[in-house]
Amino acid sequence: MNYKLVFIDDNMREGNDNPFIRSIGKFKKEADISVFTDPQKGLNFVLENLNSRMIVFVDCKFDGYGLQGINILKQIREQTSLLYIVMMSANAISQIAGLDIIEMINEDYIWFFDRNNGTVTDACNLIDKIRNLWTTRFDCVLEQWLIRHPEDNNKEAYSELSTGKTYTWTDILIQLRLQTPVGKSFEQKLNEYYIYQLDRSIK
């Protein structure tokens, strides 16, 4: 069960040799880790890989860059509301601007990691906590299913009435991760369908 861990932090100049990153890499061997010190490059990478399962650690403050942690959060959220984001800061949370905190609280799937007091173990626990959520999420269940049943990957799952466009299960997974209208409506319809089916079978 592979997933991506992305760190965007201008202080991690050593890249994968940064001791914090190395430690996490040792504990989370199944993770594919990327480190970015330039916030724009990090954001580009995340946006290009929205169809993968990913946890993004973002530093709140980038000295000398126009793009700040909160902007990265907003720009990712413009594309998808599903991605898990961990905001990191070496400053006390009380030093972060009130409006930024409000923006963070009002988002889904967001966590905070205190770089001063949090240990590597804390970071790993946070990663585990997030991964536990994956087990019930529809896109993750589908991904697991397709790993176990590769023959289903290219089967037609859905065809859009208005356009006649068809989607395979692999396509649907991408649409879900990108939170496109097709992805969202598919998930909703499927849930409604199961409720309907279960309801009928109980009667």
Partner: protein
């Protein structure tokens, strides 16, 4: 389609009220909305009469709003006024020719305002040239009663309202009168005064005055009969004032600053800012002027800067809060007050009018809650610009305070001298008239005692001033230390975190023969970080060991020393430095610590400023011109906008808030330079179009 398959929206009277009460929260605002409608209808005179609206009622209560505007036709009433949710003004934002006033009541909520004020309204209206007046009666209470009595849902839209026409004596009469009876809430004298105050602000005295509207407010039970609208002459009792304009074709905006040499507020131009060109007029009232203003305008308060759009007050400023303390300070002028209580200008001391237009300032947008503007970059810039302008007045205030103190000193000194003269004169008289000697002796004795008391007073005053200066020094030291502590803790913490990550790695994974190189590398990096922490702590200790006793200093050496101490920081940030001192300069009986404070604060600023510059240079030049020592510190950083060149020296004024700047550095520089009897200013950068040059001038004798 079959009639049975059609559904219609219908609503009852309470729905109407529900919407109305959400839109209009208080009665002053409600009445204000109706007055705005008069303005939009090209009225030049509007009279508001309150009858029996107080606690002691001597008859039927009513509020009459009478204007001489264009009036409404029957079709206007039927198709516009009586249709909820329409706003004619939305499609036609200007009032009819020739006034072409920019409409105010864009939101079409006048009808709700009427309901807020009273149960019953009678509309009498006529357009010019028509020979009949139209009378319409609307009784909200009757709607309620009907629906309550019938135990039946009575729909608002089904109720018919009575109207009639009656002949007019004069075909040229025109206007609309709203007579609101069964006034819903009690209006106290203070409520009416509050309304007068609001109405006064409806149209800016600075607006195009070709077609002014006069608002008259009459309330016989409180003896009120007043013209609410102001004109420019009403505010000429201010202590000082200044006006700013802009020039679109030259792309320039005026900005004000206080010139200490000429002792007046002067205007210079800067490029038009992000929010577009604005006009601004500010009147400052000192204690005396404030007292006079209160006497002349008992209904009015001096209440800060208001923004007018196309001549009309913008909604955030139009609604009011009766409690002064709670009064909204939208522009954040008073929020800064606690920081420097003596010289800050508060909203209680100024009346300001900022003129914006929809065309030139489209990005200044009223927020939907009507209590502020939409928070965008342009609005933030506008707020900052307005507050920067107040700095000119703060400069004037500071200067006046100093001048007054000096005058007081002189008066006290001359009083001492005059007593001496008095004693000599009396003694003279006594010598010339020996018979008066006995009577004059007690006078001389008394005068001598008074003279002694004055001398003691002068001495004590001098001591008190010295004590104050000493305390101010301590205060400044503590503050600079606080800023310093923030830097130091941040530096120490960053280093400690780096060490912590490495120690944690050892703790978790050591030993591991396959990673021997990594462990060695981390050990080395930790050692380097320890050295860094040591350096920072040494630097901190050196700060505490200095003293502020007068001493002779070798300026060139002191400068070099400071630059050497900063070398690690310069190196870390890739900064090149240059010191140009043509000769050895010895300063007698001065304070080494002051020079350190000045230089360190300037260097800290420059380091921050050059952070994002492609070429990072800091250059210090010292020259001697006649009896002056000139120190110039220049950098290739982001620069300081021209209009902020004075402002940045104020305490807590910073252009680098995002980088942790607290706005103390340049204040310390200014106070230190001043205590060395010099002056400091920001001049055009030595590097041309980039960076900043700070010029310090100190008295100097070879």
């Amino acid at each position: 389609m079959d009639e049975n398959q059609v559904l219609k929206w219908r609503f009852d009277v309470s729905t109407f009220r529900l919407i109305g009460r959400d839109l209009i929260t208080d009665r002053v605002t409600a009445l204000f909305e109706l007055v705005k409608n008069c303005y939009d209808a090209n009225a030049t005179e509007t009279t508001i009469v309150f009858n029996n609206v107080g606690l002691e009622k001597n008859g039927e209560s009513s509020i009459i709003i009478k204007d001489n505007g264009i009036g409404m036709s029957f079709a206007d009433i039927r198709d516009k006024w009586m249709v909820i949710g329409t706003s004619n003004k939305r499609s036609n934002p200007y009032s009819p020719e020739p006034f072409n006033r920019k409409c105010v009541g864009e939101k079409g909520i006048g009808r709700f305002a009427v309901d807020k004020l009273g149960d019953k309204v009678n509309i009498t209206t006529k357009q010019v040239g028509k020979n009949q007046w139209l009378d319409v009666e609307i009784d909200w209470e009757a709607y309620y009663k009907q629906s309550a009595e019938n135990h039946d849902i009575k729909l608002f839209t089904d109720i018919e309202n009575h109207y009639e026409f009656h002949d007019s004596e004069n075909q040229n009469d025109h206007g609309t009168t709203l007579t609101i009876t069964n006034v819903r809430e009690i209006w106290l004298e203070s409520d009416i005064k509050r309304f007068v105050e609001e109405a006064a602000k409806l149209v800016s005295p600075l607006a195009n005055m070709s077609y002014p509207m006069q608002i008259k407010v009459v309330a016989p039970e409180y003896g009120i009969e007043t013209i609410a609208t102001k004109n420019l002459d009403d505010v000429n009792i201010a202590t000082i004032d200044f006006s700013l304009d802009f020039n679109l074709s030259a792309n320039t905006q005026d900005t004000a600053y206080f010139n200490e040499d000429t002792e007046v507020i002067e205007i210079r131009t800067i490029p038009i800012k992000s929010f577009g060109g604005i006009k601004m007029k500010v009147y400052f009232f000192d204690d005396t002027a404030r007292r006079r203003y209160r006497k002349e305008f008992p209904n009015n308060q001096i209440d800060g800067v208001k923004i007018y759009r196309d001549g009309i007050i913008t909604t955030p400023f139009a609604e009011n809060e009766s409690d002064d303390d709670k009064k909204r300070d939208i522009l954040g002028i008073d929020k800064r007050l606690w920081k420097d209580i003596f010289d800050r200008v508060s909203t209680r001391e100024i009346i300001g009018v900022v003129e914006i237009t929809k065309d030139y300032n489209p990005m200044i947008i009223d927020a939907t809650n009507r209590q502020d503007f939409v928070d965008n970059e342009q609005y933030r810039d506008l707020k900052e610009f307005i507050i920067t302008q107040l700095d000119a007045i703060e400069g004037y205030k500071k200067y006046s305070r100093k001048k007054k103190r000096k005058e007081n000193n002189n008066t006290l000194m001359s009083a001492g001298q005059e007593i001496q003269n008095f004693i000599s004169s009396v003694e003279n008289i006594a010598q010339q008239n020996p018979n008066l000697k006995d009577s004059l002796t007690p006078v001389v004795e008394q005068a001598k005692k008074t003279g002694k008391a004055v001398r003691t007073a002068i001495k004590e005053k001098k001591e008190a001033e010295e004590e104050f200066a000493r305390k101010e020094n301590i205060y400044m030291s503590i503050m600079s230390l606080q800023e310093y502590a923030i830097h130091i803790t941040h530096a120490v913490r960053t280093t400690l975190n780096k060490i912590r990550d490495r120690v944690e790695y050892f703790n978790l994974f050591y030993p591991d023969p396959t990673e021997e190189d990594i462990f060695k590398r981390y050990a080395k990096e930790m050692y380097i970080e320890f050295l860094n922490v040591n350096k920072v702590i040494d630097y901190m200790l050196s700060y505490s060991q200095s003293n502020i006793q007068p001493e002779d200093i070798q300026l060139d050496e002191t400068l070099k020393e400071i630059f050497t101490e900063y070398k690690p920081l310069f190196d870390a940030n890739g900064i090149t430095t240059e010191i140009i001192i043509p000769e050895k300069i010895m300063l007698r009986n001065t304070r080494q610590q002051f020079f350190r404070d000045i230089l360190q604060n300037l260097l800290d600023n420059s380091i921050k400023a050059v952070k994002d510059s492609p070429q990072k240079i800091i250059r210090c030049t010292v020259v001697i011109e006649k009896e002056k020592l000139i120190i110039m510190l220049s950098d290739t950083g982001c620069g300081i906008p021209e209009e902020k060149r004075t402002w940045v020296f104020g305490i807590y004024n910073t252009t680098t808030q995002d980088q942790g700047g607290a706005g103390i550095g340049l204040y310390i520089v200014k106070t230190r330079v001043e205590s060395l009897q010099g002056n400091v200013s920001i001049i055009d950068s030595e590097f041309g179009n980039i960076g900043t040059t700070v010029r310090i001038e100190l008295p100097f004798k070879k």
